[in-house]
Symmetry: C2
């Protein structure tokens, strides 16, 4: 098949690579993308287009992999051009957002949610799928490092699962960082680390690892935290955990280009 | 020494027992306490009083161990009677609350914070202490299961450490339970547990253990979560994690007398 990938970011490029491995032809849209994205797409052998209309004229299906705050815009641009094929949204969005996306994209909509890091080795990364076309989309991934998991016919189950999953990983990571900042501010960091070492073994190290690993990605977590908070609120559960996590990641957004910044750089950003 | 313990609840009675072991005489106030508390105090050999004035007339120091929402009231009642001795507040309160308590209790104030379960065996439970009298109070605990740890001269360091510690344990526990409720509501519980089992090993079991262990105590966690949220806000960090955790525990308050309720009973309470 010929598939359009919007866009080959760090995660998206590995989704495209798995599709290429599986024998499909992957197309991408150069317009508006960074030099990094272009380099990734070229290295992966994807075919480039200068306009969305040109891309849509060539492909049978579109896959949206972008930060959650851009998901509606991408879907809208595709729908505007009356694209008739499958539209897979694989982004970290609330079920309510997934239903809005489905309304925009029409009957070809398939809901997706990616769990795990960019798929560079086997067994790390799942693409959950739901909706009428979930089985068909899953069959695209016959080879490569992405494991496609169809969940059912629901319009938003894959998004719901992604929200629940990221709620713990990214929520508890933000909580750890907020606590490290609080302990510093209150002058009790040494005491807290000593107590954690005794009764919460591994937590001091985890909190430092989390700082280094999340800081460069934090800029795109704020929107995801907003989607998770909305998911909780829509289910009559408190959204405050992830509203707070979103605030933590927003304060870290300036560390986008930092390479594994140490904890103190992260805490400085949080306490600015 | 003769020490007044307000009050010998589940935690307090083990603090009193450690003081008894260390050779001190422990006094308690029967008025207004439950039959359970009376039974615990009698079994531990504490001396009972029918009025606070009678107790204060006998003891050289007072130790407050109560739910955080009652800490100011207990301190006020003791201060009203012009008690001249050491006043140790060992409750889970915000540093700002500790400073209010210090203003009420006067120069004898010592700040405390307990980390760990009721002290029924060695090595599980620390009593952190700060303030001018921290060393003196630490010396009271020469024997028994409570390890007293003086932190320094600060008026609220022990409370700050307690807030930071409980922020993670009780905050992440509430987050886990909220996510289990969300997954149930969205119909993706099986999928989430399967993914957790693969990439977050131990988390399915931890979330069930947390439900059983926290449900009977949740009724007194709401106030503690409010203190933690205030601690974050006062430090210019987001209080939303623990405002949300407080809401989760408030919904579980009705499980006070449930003996290790299973997860589904807890989720029912959260989704009511």
């Amino acid at each position: 098949m010929k598939l359009g990938l919007l866009h080959p970011g760090e995660m998206g490029v590995t989704i495209g690579a798995a599709l290429g491995e599986s024998g499909h032809e992957v197309h991408w849209l150069r317009a508006g993308r960074s030099a990094d994205t272009a380099a990734r797409a070229q290295a992966s052998g994807f075919r480039s287009h200068d306009s969305l209309s040109s891309l849509l004229g060539q492909v049978q299906a579109v896959i949206s992999v972008c930060p959650p705050h851009a998901a509606l815009e991408v879907a809208g641009a595709v729908a505007e051009r009356k694209f008739p094929g499958i539209y897979l949204d694989a982004n970290a969005v609330a079920p309510a957002t997934a239903r809005r996306l489905a309304a925009i994209a029409g009957p070809g909509y398939v809901d997706g949610g990616i769990v795990g890091p960019p798929a560079r080795s086997k067994g790390t990364t799942r693409l959950y799928l739901s909706g009428a076309g979930a089985g068909e989309v899953a069959a695209w991934f016959s080879r490569g490092f992405v494991e496609a998991v169809p969940l059912g016919e629901g319009l938003a189950e894959a998004s719901a699962l992604k929200m629940c999953y990221a709620a713990y990983t990214k929520g508890s990571a933000a909580l750890m960082l907020a606590i490290r900042a609080l302990a510093d501010r209150e002058g009790v960091a040494a005491g807290l680390l000593a107590e954690w070492s005794r009764s919460q073994p591994g937590l001091p190290e985890r909190s430092e690892r989390v700082a280094a690993n999340t800081a460069p990605k934090a800029w795109r977590f704020e929107g995801e935290m907003r989607e998770i908070a909305a998911t909780f609120e829509n289910a009559n559960l408190p959204g405050g955990f992830h509203a707070a996590a979103g605030e933590i990641y927003a304060r870290m957004a300036g560390l986008k280009d930092a390479r594994r910044p140490d904890l103190h750089k992260v805490l400085d950003a949080l306490m600015r």
